[in-house]
């Protein structure tokens, strides 16, 4: 299984990933707080932590759902949310269960959202700059 690899030491905190993620998951609107990858950017220290689904072998979000609304995609390794059985804001068990803080909640849709790996071709990876003097980019997929 290909993995989304995050190396936060290489993250510049530009949040291009957030912007492109929200853009690709909407009809061309940019809304970082809807993104499925997030950057916890600390402007004072200049350190950033990139947060996205880690494709856990035994995903706690799936286990935590009392309504069986989540299932793991065996090809991509990410969870899928079934909109009809999910109880949304009344529950939030999956959001709380994720040890990486990578299950987000979209208040407009009333649903949890997380990385869907853009069906195997993640947009964030494409915009994450590999600086020539650094050993790699913060986000890679492989």
């Amino acid at each position: 299984m290909k993995k989304l690899v995050i190396d936060s030491k290489l993250c510049t905190g530009c949040r291009y990933c957030e912007a492109i993620c929200s853009f690709e998951h909407s009809d061309g609107a940019i809304a970082p707080n809807k993104a499925r990858v997030r950057v916890r950017e600390n402007s004072f220290t200049g350190s950033s932590i990139t947060v996205a689904c880690r494709q856990c072998a035994k995903p706690r979000c799936v286990d935590a759902c009392p309504h069986f609304a989540l299932r793991q995609d065996l090809v991509l390794g990410i969870p899928h949310v079934d909109r009809t059985s999910c109880r949304g804001a009344q529950c939030l068990a999956c959001v709380q269960a994720c040890p990486h803080g990578a299950m987000f909640f979209d208040h407009d849709q009333g649903l949890p959202v997380t990385c869907d790996l853009c069906a195997g071709d993640p947009a964030c990876v494409k915009v994450c700059r590999r600086y020539p003097h650094l050993p790699g980019a913060a986000l890679s997929y492989g």
Binding site: C14, Y16, I30, P32, E41, S43, F44, T45, P132
Partner: protein
Amino acid sequence: MARYGGYTGKVLRVDLTRRRSAVEETDWNTADRLIGGRGYAAKVLFDEVPAGADPLSPENKLIYATGPLTATLVPGSGRHVMVTKSPETGFFLDSYAGGHFAAEMKLAGYDFIIIEGRADRPSYLSIRDSQVEIRDATHLWGMKAWDAETRLKQEVGDEKARVSLIGPAGERLSNLAIVQNDYYHQCARGGIGAVMGSKNLKALVVRGSQAIVIAHPKELMGWLSQIESGVQANMLSTVIADRMKMGTPLTSNMTNQIGILPTKNFLYGDYGRTSRIDGYAFREKVTADVACYCCNLGCAKMAKATSADYHRDAIGGPEYETIALLGANCEIDSLDAVIHANALCDSFGLDTVGAGNVIAWAMECFERGILTEKDTGGVDLRFGNARAVFTMIEMIANREGLGDLLANGVKIAAKQVGRGSEEFAMHVKGLEYPAYRPGPVSPAFGLVYAITERGACHRRAWPTLAEQATLEPYTTDGRAALVKKLYDQRIPWHCALTCDVVVVLYGVFDRMGHADAAAVLSAVTGRDTTEGDMQMLCERVATLVRAYNVREGATSADDTLAPRSFAPDIRGPAEGKTLTREMLDVMLREYYALRGWTSEGVPTAARLVELGMADVASALMGGVH
């Protein structure tokens, strides 16, 4: 609400005197003609601030402006501009900053925030989407900028909130006071922080949760991929990779080699110890590569002093300008000392350019005996004394002793001290020279400094490389046309609004001209925009801002340089050669003519009407006939 993509369609107007705010619709007529950012805000300032207004009175307004490209995936689009009437020059002031504040302001739903009046007590503005509150800031008054930013994030209970604020220098109405956001990003010049301080406004704290709509997403992605292929193809063969590694300090290697790196209060254009403070030396101090919102060039490095005698933590910067003005120009050859001085300036809310310039002037006064230890309060203010620089920064911020005078900027300080010190007070219109030395080596920078509306500035046109590579040395030939071309390349991006560093760097592979500005604006806004529209925009904006200054009493005589810049070079590649006043005059007349102004640099009523600004003509000349 928004008529076009890229805009939020809303203007937040805050009246501090009456402690109330209102939301207005973005003026689409103005947006059609002046896009946003610098152009739009200039029109607001022209229309709403009466001629002759005291910049530090409630009559003046402080405008935060974004543009339709702000926070839209366009590289360098995490940028805003603040526009006001400058207390340092008495003329138009636009000052830009990167970081994340601009994106947050737009995501909160505002294209522009117009701040009016004066609060009756220290206040800050809390903006959370449509919730706008003017809150008490008495407990924050006097607090250093970094501490106040952290405190404000705690106070609103949201570490993701973005803050734009002043430090003690702004509260004390210094002409060197900045408005700072995201800790290390500054609208730095012309005393913009003093305008904020005069309004008793400590800070804006902004959090937004809205979306920015792109009119034609596929076209935007197509344009972005073209630009990215250009970057990939040129990254290693051009200056781009080095810039990504060393940030702006790399510029010192270039300017020192050309002979325009300000040294010893602009007496020289090269510094023998540049290698101790240049891009390569800087990289040794870098602890993290950091980028502004949606920028993949990342010149915002974090750096840390090696010696334990200096500021202990890594800070954002120092940038080239800081290294040149607080380093070479004060003959300080220690990067650790420059980092420490930078940290002091940021925390007090002072401009590192203006501070480095005015301190170098005071050092020269001291070495010439114009100022003595009696004036400096016992400080041994000789060139090269880093501890004296630190002390002066604190004295300026606190307006103690000599610092009280220097806090007014080099023009006022030299006027008061007199005794020939005005000859080497390096400013235009009151704004301190930044880090390019105009003179026989670079007549073009002389012209840029002279014509820039806010005073001496290198960010409207940057002729550094083109002049050296393409024009006959030590002459005026081709300078006016080059400067206008470079200025015009940037105007659309200053309105749109993105970072002009990206414009320069992607310019090396011939992108980011008017064709690109038109293409990306069409894609984002959905409004058909042509290259012709961009040229028209340039003429409009340049002429509107000029008209603003003319209404405030500016004449061609203000488009000049410090007397030292007209003296023969005493060393370097142009030793014995001079940039004469006559040469500057020739370039000025050529430039005015290219802009369609009179030989005195005044936009005529006919020209204003031709550019669709009959109302401006009317206000300027008292009616058009």
